[in-house]
């Protein structure tokens, strides 16, 4: 697959965005991603296995995330599959967050939102 420009993938669906965010600080396995997403969003976003792996399937083929080459780990089950951001995935995430930030700034200028305390 030829590499696209990060912009061609924007805007991201909420699921994809959250998964990227969950992987931003390190590799995780499936259920850990779902837990992290739920924790980050304070319970607002909950993912079932179908949504999660459906998104991961598409994100892998878009080269946003990749599977960590399996190795024996001290703290977990080596048969679980772990995922991490690709450098491209990280770029896409940064662009998306920047885009959202611009949108939020715009909304604030229109006094739609209170500035964070």
């Amino acid at each position: 697959m030829t590499r696209k420009s990060p912009e061609s993938l924007l805007p991201l669906t909420p699921a994809v965005l959250h998964i990227l965010l969950a992987l931003a600080d390190g590799e995780r396995h499936g259920y850990a991603i779902a837990q992290e997403v739920e924790a980050m969003s304070e319970g607002q976003v909950r993912m079932g296995p179908g949504t999660l792996y459906g998104s991961i399937l598409r994100m892998t083929s878009s080269e946003l995330v990749e599977e960590v080459v399996t190795r024996r780990r001290e703290d977990g089950d080596e048969r679980r599959r772990y995922y991490r951001l690709t450098p491209f995935g990280r770029r896409v995430l940064v662009r998306e967050v920047a885009r959202l930030d611009a949108v939020v700034a715009l909304a604030r200028r229109k006094s739609l939102l209170q500035a964070p305390a």
């Binding site: 697959m1 061609s8 993938l9 924007l10 805007p11 991201l12 669906t13 994809v16 499936g30 259920y31 850990a32 779902a34 909950r46 993912m47 079932g48 296995p49 179908g50 949504t51 999660l52 792996y53 459906g54 991961i56 399937l57 598409r58 994100m59 083929s61 878009s62 946003l64 977990g76 089950d77 048969r79 679980r80 599959r81």
Partner: protein, 892 residues
């Protein structure tokens, strides 16, 4: 976080709910995810955790399924920015929208607690009743019996026009087993009480006298030891051995492994225990232990002229019971030609084992099943009506949403989602109620060993299915009509216009539920009247203050008639001496105890060709029996002390016998030949009243009593008229018998009135159940009528207001409303009575002295229902009279 090396099997199965392209890559990961979610402490420690996890997973699987439908194959992330395609738009709404609908519905439920409570309550009752009855239907009629290839198992009985299940002779069955071409094997069965002695006190167990083939063809697995060998049960060469059931092993030997090899004293003879069947092997005839047929309590069993056993057979694969029956009937005819001296044989009937075990309950179960389905239909109709009414009162809200762009399909889906959620929650509550009700019911029903009743996966699947169907059914009318709202009309006027058709969908639904109600009520009425007639049926005896008990003398100990006679005479004397006893008699078959005997006979002056002789019930009774039971002596005398062994054989016949054989003449002094072998000639010395012997619903038929002292058999029952509560005399009765023979077990000590109650119990149970369902149906119907009439009054306020402004009086307004209620009732009565008459014809064979179209029922029921329905419409109708025309018109 769990660290299962492998995901659990259950989760791997659940992963199959996900679309293929996901499973190909992630099947194990999805399964592991499900495990993790289930073990997550947040859910594990929450009582509703499993429910929440299940809800989340189902929603998730559903949404993956939808998105796989849309996508077909995995695609890169690429979410369109500016111009989403139609498909993408649908994708974005489907699951999100569905979840939104679910949340919307939930908020609605909380906003309308009354509606939600009524809906859930009625759904719970309707679905619960169905779950309970279906659990019985499933256990008794649907689930295969717990044997290998149960469809091949049949019972083999003799049969005649008068009697469905007659015993066959043992040598005949042995010949049938050897000569038939349709059975893979046939085994002899005779279940009867066996005296167990040698313990603290004499006891009785239910034993089954069998051949080795019986346990073999049933596929009995063993927990210890072995089954019988053919040699051990072969006629003329049998061994005194026994096989215990698992339950008997536990009860008698505490499950100790050394039980095999121990000796038990059964019917006075030692038997070596050679094996114990596995815990999951259940004898179809409830036996607790098995004995070789060669341990039979009487030598007569080996005589070809004596019918003492039945049989169980395994048909060759693919053959029907009919084919087996044809085969055996022709063989039996062949045996008749070969052994004419052993008397006329009954025909042979081959019956599927399940039919044998549950045949009697099938009819009532199906009636009950019909009744609960009718109740559920009424629940559906009621809720459909409530939803319709809500849809019309929400017309403005719905129109507003439609005007703002909600499409009609989505509005309809939302109503369906709401109904489905209600019915699914109602279904969960229903399963809980049903499981509880089943437990209560099982105690009241005679359930065979081989058909244990419990809620299984099929029951849950059935409940789920009816919950979904119920939800769709009561949601559909509102979804169809409710979403079809003319935007302009609805937004313009305050309520539906006065020109609404009078007989609309709502009225049709109410008429439907009222007519179902009439059918149910009529069935309940017919069964109740039948039960009342049965309760007042003339039993022919006075059951109050009579205590009965059963015993059987072991033939090993009482091996000649003198010993038997001595025992009987001594027992009678001891019993007569008991304080508080008015009179005592011995008899071999107490009425309604399940015991009775039949014999062919030839009455004086009525020669009959051999094989065509009439049959009579035959009972051996001691003198004083008629006095004890208060059976009226109509002519002649009772047995007395002059009737002894050696003196002329005497008999007493009942009125039905006398008037059938000697109409218009005196029966006294006539002679009757009882067909043996050997034939016995008896002289009639008395005539007594007719007695219900087998069941209260039987018709009067010929009965003949022989003097027990002239033909002392080893079977005896005690009938004892007491001066107070008969149940208080049980202990004294046992001790009196034990004072004659301390090793003699006495069982089934029960009062005559308990036997009468037992005979009435099945009819009573079905009346109670159907009655409860009918009562529920009426309550639901009243709610339905009241709701619809209130609504129609509210809707017609404007029309009423205008009329009153033009001079109509309040009473006229009430009448106007009532008239539309009356139309509904008339339609309902016409349809309902037709249905009730059809249901009555179906029930006819089970009714006692009540016609299928019993006029009392068929007039009273519709009348009551019409009155109730009119009352339910009158209450809201009164409101019409209070309409203030000024206010109504101003509001326009």
């Amino acid at each position: 976080m769990s660290d299962h090396p492998r995901p659990t099997r259950r989760s791997r199965l659940l992963a199959y709910c996900y679309p293929r392209e996901l499973r190909e890559q992630y099947a194990d990961d999805i399964a592991r995810f499900i495990d993790d979610a289930r073990l997550d402490p947040r859910y594990r420690d929450d009582p509703f955790g499993p429910l929440r996890v299940t809800a989340r997973l189902s929603a998730d699987a559903l949404s993956s399924f939808f998105s796989s439908l849309r996508q077909g194959s995995p695609r890169p992330v690429r979410v369109a920015a500016a111009h989403p395609s139609l498909g993408q738009r649908i994708r974005s709404i489907s699951m999100v929208a569905l979840m939104k609908d679910v949340r919307f519905a939930f908020r609605g439920f909380i906003r309308r607690p009354a509606f939600t409570a009524v809906a859930l309550g009625t759904l719970m009752l309707g679905i619960g009743a169905n779950t309970a009855i279906f659990t019985l239907v499933n256990a008794l009629l649907l689930r295969p019996l717990p044997y290998e290839h149960p469809e091949q198992l049949v019972t083999i009985w003799g049969t005649s026009d008068a009697q469905k299940q007659l015993l066959l002779s043992l040598p005949d069955i042995v010949d049938l087993r050897e000569r038939n071409r349709t059975f893979s094997d046939i085994g002899v069965v005779r279940t009867m009480s066996v005296n167990l002695t040698g313990g603290d006190r004499p006891d009785r167990v239910i034993g089954s006298f069998v051949t080795a083939s019986t346990l073999r063809l049933l596929g009995a697995k063993m927990a210890a030891g072995r089954r019988f060998t053919d040699d051990e049960t072969a006629l003329g060469a049998g061994q005194q051995v026994a096989v215990l059931s698992y339950a008997a092993w536990m009860a008698r030997f505490g499950g100790r492994p050394d039980a095999v090899g121990k000796t038990m004293i059964l019917n006075g003879r030692p038997h070596v225990v050679i094996g114990v069947t596995a815990a999951d092997f259940l004898d179809p005839f409830e036996a607790e232990l098995w004995l070789p047929i060669t341990s039979a309590p009487s030598r007569q069993w080996y005589d070809r002229s004596n019918a003492s056993v039945w049989a169980i057979g395994r048909l060759k694969p693919g053959l029907t019971p009919e084919a087996g029956q044809q085969d055996l009937v022709s063989l039996e005819a062949q045996l008749q030609r070969e052994h004419p001296q052993s008397g006329a044989r009954p025909s042979v009937s081959v019956m599927n084992l399940r039919e044998q075990l549950v045949g009697n309950s099938r009819f009532m179960l199906l009636v009950l099943f019909g009744a609960v389905l009718a109740v559920l239909l009424i629940v559906c109709v009621n809720l459909a009506n409530l939803q319709l009414i809500r849809a019309s009162t929400r017309a403005r809200e719905i129109s507003l949403r439609a005007a703002l762009g909600a499409n009609r399909a989505h509005l309809a889906i939302q109503m369906i989602v709401e109904s489905l959620m209600l019915s699914l929650i109602g279904g969960v509550l229903g399963v809980v109620l049903g499981a509880w009700a089943v437990k209560a019911l099982v105690g009241l029903l005679p359930i065979a060993n081989a058909t244990p009743v419990h809620v299984d996966a099929w029951v849950l699947a059935f409940t789920f299915a009816i919950a979904v169907v119920t939800g769709l059914m009561f949601g559909a009318p509102a979804a169809l009509f409710g979403s079809r709202i003319n935007l302009q009309d609805a937004l313009r006027t305050r309520t539906e216009s006065a020109t609404a058709r009078r007989f609309n969908a709502r009225n049709a639904l109410v008429a439907a539920e009222l007519s179902l109600c009439i059918v149910l009520l009529a069935v309940a009425g017919l069964l109740t009247r039948s039960l009342v007639r049965l309760q007042h049926a003339n039993t022919g005896f006075d059951p109050d203050n009579v205590l009965t008990a059963e015993l059987r003398l072991p033939s090993a100990k009482y091996d000649d008639s003198t010993k038997v006679e001595l025992f009987m005479t001594a027992a009678l004397e001891r019993l007569r001496e008991l304080p508080g006893v008015a009179s005592v008699a011995l008899i071999d078959a107490i009425p309604l105890s399940g015991n009775f005997g039949m014999m062919s006979y030839v009455a004086e002056g009525h020669a009959q060709p051999a094989g065509a002789e009439p049959v009579t019930q035959i009972t051996n009774a001691s003198d004083g029996y008629f006095r004890t039971m208060r059976i009226p002596q109509l002519a002649g005398r009772d047995f007395d002390s002059h009737d002894r062994v050696g003196s002329e054989r005497v008999a007493i016949v009942n009125q039905a016998f006398a008037s059938k054989e000697w109409p218009g003449e005196s029966a006294i002094g006539k002679s009757v030949r009882l067909i043996g072998p050997p034939d016995v000639n008896v002289r009639v010395v008395g005539v007594v009243g007719n007695v219900k012997q087998q069941t209260l619903s039987e018709h009067d038929s010929p009965q003949l009593y022989l003097d027990k002292m002239q033909a002392s058999g080893i079977f005896a029952s005690v009938a004892m008229r007491t001066l107070g509560d008969p149940d208080a005399r049980g202990k004294a009765l046992r001790e009196a018998i034990w004072s004659v023979d301390p090793d003699q077990p006495v069982w089934k000590v029960r009062s005559m009135s308990a036997l009468v109650r037992r005979d009435l119990a099945p009819a009573k149970l079905s009346v109670n159940l159907i009655g409860a369902f009918a009562a529920l149906a009426i309550v639901l119907a009243v709610i339905g009528v009241y709701g619809v009439m209130s609504f129609s009054v509210a809707q017609r306020t404007r029309e009423v207001g205008i009329r009153m402004a033009l001079g109509a009086r309040g009473s006229q307004a009430v009448l106007m409303v009532l008239r539309s209620g009356l139309e509904v009732v008339v339609v309902a009565v016409a349809v309902g009575v037709a249905g009730a008459l059809a249901a009555g014809r179906y029930l006819e064979s089970r009714l006692y002295n009540v016609g299928a179209s019993d006029p009392v029922t068929m007039v009273t029921v519709p009348l009551i229902l019409a009155l109730v329905a009119m009352l339910a419409s009158w209450l809201p109708a009164r409101r019409a009279a209070r309409v203030d025309p000024a206010i109504t018109l101003r509001e326009e």
